[in-house]
């Protein structure tokens, strides 16, 4: 995802001199390094100083540039939180804050590096658009959208590197603010976003093995949420499952449950999120998800899929 973002940004930046990237001491991956070489004045490294990363991005946007602020998700959103809120959102500036390694991607680094509640926090700020693509292709589509949109600030939550392409066979293209069907199905609908989407496919396959056809939907735009689309799913499917890599308070799971009440849905609804806890566990990304109760086997067991 990181590399696809970098490639897309480089291509866009080549043609749009307003595009700048402000990083806070994160090593520029792939094409971002190339962007730095080719356009040194439009690459700014504030060092280990995230408040000025966001503050400068705000000032640059006010004077006609289109900055992307880019660092590890926790440092992009939590450390300079008030700058994101006041400088970007209160002033409604078209700045994209790119958070790398959302959720518990940085699985060996401990909770200081886990943006495990970033979607909830970002979604709670008025005016902040929140996008979390599920794979490199969605990352590229979202980056292209962010580079030209005029409506205001965006939190773009990415994974790290090496994520599989999950949306190749999707019957629908990526469109901002719209649910995206990745796989059609009849009996169950699985809602997910971000790299944990691969578990949605694993769970869907298990449903299929038991003779049930499961649709998979990418809820890549968390804010504004496609309420109409979600409402229709809640009415249409007898069973809906949410799988997400975010703590439960204020995340997609809770919002889908609210919506289910509003549309008087009668479907069975199961939600799987990170735990509302800091866990002191180190290992692979998969190990961390398992420690949060999100091992595919455990999800399937809770869904009654043996």
């Amino acid at each position: 995802m990181r590399n696809r973002f970098a490639n897309a940004f480089y291509e866009l930046g080549k043609n749009d001199p307003r595009l700048c990237i402000v990083v806070a001491d994160i090593s520029p991956a792939g094409s971002i390094a190339k962007f730095r070489t080719d356009f040194p004045a439009r690459f700014i490294n504030t060092g280990v100083a995230e408040q000025v990363m966001i503050g400068m991005a705000a000032g640059m946007a006010q004077r006609g540039l289109r900055p992307f602020a880019y660092t590890i998700a926790t440092f992009a959103l939590y450390r300079p939180f008030e700058m994101v809120r006041d400088d970007l959102c209160y002033q409604n500036l078209p700045v994209t804050v790119v958070g790398i390694g959302g959720g518990v991607t940085y699985s060996t680094l401990g909770a200081t590096h886990h943006a495990q509640e970033d979607i909830s926090i970002a979604s709670s700020i008025p005016g902040l658009t929140v996008i979390a693509p599920c794979d490199p292709a969605e990352t590229e589509a979202a980056t292209r959208w962010c580079a030209v949109q005029e409506q205001g600030p965006v939190y773009l939550r990415l994974g790290k590197a090496g994520e599989p392409d999950l949306s190749k066979e999707a019957p629908e293209p990526w469109a901002f603010g719209k649910l995206r069907l990745l796989r059609s199905g009849r009996d169950v609908c699985i809602l997910s976003y971000g790299p944990i989407m691969k578990k949605a496919f694993e769970v869907a396959d298990r449903f299929a093995a038991l003779g049930q056809s499961a649709a998979i939907v990418s809820v890549h735009t968390l804010k504004p949420l496609d309420r109409a689309g979600l409402g229709a799913i809640l009415k249409q499917f007898p069973r809906v499952v949410v799988i997400e890599e975010c703590a439960p308070n204020g995340s997609l799971a809770g919002r889908v449950k609210e919506l289910a009440w509003e549309v008087q849905a009668t479907c069975r609804l199961d939600a799987f999120t990170l735990r509302d806890a800091f866990i002191h566990c180190y290992g692979s990304h998969e190990d961390l998800l398992a420690a949060h109760g999100l091992a595919t086997q455990e999800i399937c067991a809770k869904l009654g899929l043996g």
Binding site: C20, A41, R42, I44, T46, G47, A49, Q51, V52, I54, G55, M56, A57, A58, G59, M60, A61, Q62, R63, G64, L65, P67, E82, M83, D86, D87, Y90, Q91
Partner: protein, 284 residues
Amino acid sequence: MDAGNGRTRSGALRNSFDPVAARRRCQAYRRRILEISQQVSALHVAPAFSCTEITDVLFNGVMRRRSDGSFDDVFLMSKGHGCVIQYVILEQFGLLSKRDLDLYCTPDGRLGAHPDFGTPGIAASTGSLGHGLGIAAGQAYAEKLKASDVTVYCVLSDGEFQEGSTWEAMMMAGNLQLGNLVGLMDNNDFSGLERMSEGHRAFYPLVAKAQAFGWDAVEVDGHDGQAIFHAIAERGGRRPLLIVCKTVKGKGVSYMENAPIWHYRSPNAQEYRQGLEEIDGSEG
């Protein structure tokens, strides 16, 4: 071509600033602020009086205007609680109306006790301290990238130099050699609770700190518009400049001077009359 306010179109400052006219203007601004204070229960009078001359010299002596009345250069009030002085000056220039000021802090108006980006003449929404200099650095960098001759002037409180974010911005502005950025610190020595010089001794020295962060820095009498004018006119322009303006909080009204309660209080009728008399009686 003379832009009509002390600076030529080419960007060079005229070597003159009329201190007598400036004193008269500042008298009128203080009077107008006291007038506004009678419309509302609370107003940051003293913080505005502290930076009256600083704001005056920038608007009336330094920044270049376009024919539509707006300014080419940027004025960013980082100490948002002092913004009523900016409002009365924007009123003088016709960028805000008398009605705007009459409706100050009311739901029918558009002016609050802190400046809001989108209001004419307002460069950033401030109020939370420690945000302005980072934004100003971004603005200055953008102008540098565009190879424009715009200068960004950022007025800061001394208190917000206690924020780490201000020092992040100091370091970045120094790194980027933002010669088109001028910071003016309203150094009245008061934070909300106490004098810096008593409660936070390590806050000083200031000029040396700024220099160590890659800035040019000077200290001037912050109520002497001419001194501020000269500090700006004589700046090197290769590095950002911090002007440490030594000021008196509540300057111009004796009972407000250096009295913490006036950070946020509006004078009653009798205090209002006395304030007006003192301002009118001052050397102008």
